[in-house]
Point group: C2
Chain length 202, copies 2
């Protein structure tokens, strides 16, 4: 069983959207449990809104225990701002910690302060999310800043897209939307494949 934690010090960075889309991606490769430990319960409530059965299970952390055995992948959506000792434990307990980051200075600053709080043996990658389309250079700027600081990053990144807003409202992953709203799914496919590679190697 592989554990993928999705965490960060900055709320609103696409943590829950990332958790549920990675869970959807991994569901094509094995049995997936998404554990929602964010007190807002965004993922759990999203799954309850879903008009059709999802190919993975979503539970909140309090009731998760009995659902854990037998899965191939656990995706863990964490609280918006875990304490530094919690982040250390989260990143120690995961095979991979995914750290979503919106390309702006507040998020970048929170990311740098987070990195020193990860467990020393943690395997992690930053994931640029909500990236505005060209001609905006914000995503490139933040990617460059992270690369220069030798922070490990996914090659893939997630675009800002109205499809995600619709998907959240409908209780569906973007891959289940009409094709005009489905572009963001490609981004999660790219990142999902990177994750499978990382998990094979680690």
């Amino acid at each position: 069983m592989k554990v993928i934690a999705v965490s960060g010090y900055k709320g609103g960075c696409g943590k829950s959207v990332t958790s549920l889309h990675l869970a959807r991606f991994l569901a094509d490769y094995g049995q997936v449990l998404l554990i929602d430990s964010d007190p807002n319960r965004s993922c759990e409530n999203w799954s309850k809104r879903s008009p059709k059965p999802l190919p993975f299970t979503v539970v909140n952390e309090k009731g998760a225990t009995r659902y854990i055995p037998g899965n191939d992948y656990l995706v863990l959506d964490t609280p918006a701002r875990p304490a530094s000792h919690e982040l250390k434990e989260i990143s120690e307990g995961a095979d991979l910690t995914v750290l979503p980051c919106i390309p702006d200075a507040f998020s970048l600053q929170a990311m740098f302060s987070l990195l020193s709080d990860l467990h020393p043996q943690a395997v992690y990658r930053c994931l640029l999310t909500v990236c505005p389309p060209a001609p905006s250079k914000e995503a490139i700027k933040v990617r460059t800043a992270l690369e220069e600081a030798q922070v490990p990053l996914f090659f893939g990144q997630i675009r800002r897209s109205a499809g995600f807003v619709k998907a959240i409202a409908l209780g569906l992953p973007v891959c289940d939307l009409p094709s005009k709203d489905r572009m963001g799914w490609r981004d999660y496919e790219t990142v999902g494949k990177e994750i499978l590679t990382i998990l094979q190697v680690s």
Copy 2:
């Protein structure tokens, strides 16, 4: 002295951007102290990046006490996800609680769960932030949902704008940027005037 708290259950909703722009607006009407109690210290760090003196003071909550006397306005930026009892205390202690909300289903859901945790006598308004431009209808949808639930809302709302991203990076409020990046300032002026009216009445 009037106290304006900026709070919410969902991170990344523009809480710090709102705090610092309201502080800038109010600085034209009196002496302003912005107290940063978000553990990410986004406002405090932003003020340290500022290339020129700001017309208001930014301090973190731990060192705030000595700076409080003599101000006309206190703007309080709160942690990303206060506990319900903390929110009750925050909203009780403020003359006005501003609740930023991004127009998406996760944020709307967090807003509804927050509202029941406010102090019963709290004066508060939701503020729609990061509103995408037309033809997006997301802001209208969320405004309608809040209005139908009789949730008090600011008439003004804050647009999504690259100017804010630049302002955050530079340590400046958007009103100090070149005119092409300054449009968002009008939105905070509109909301700032509503706040002055509410504070006069309350």
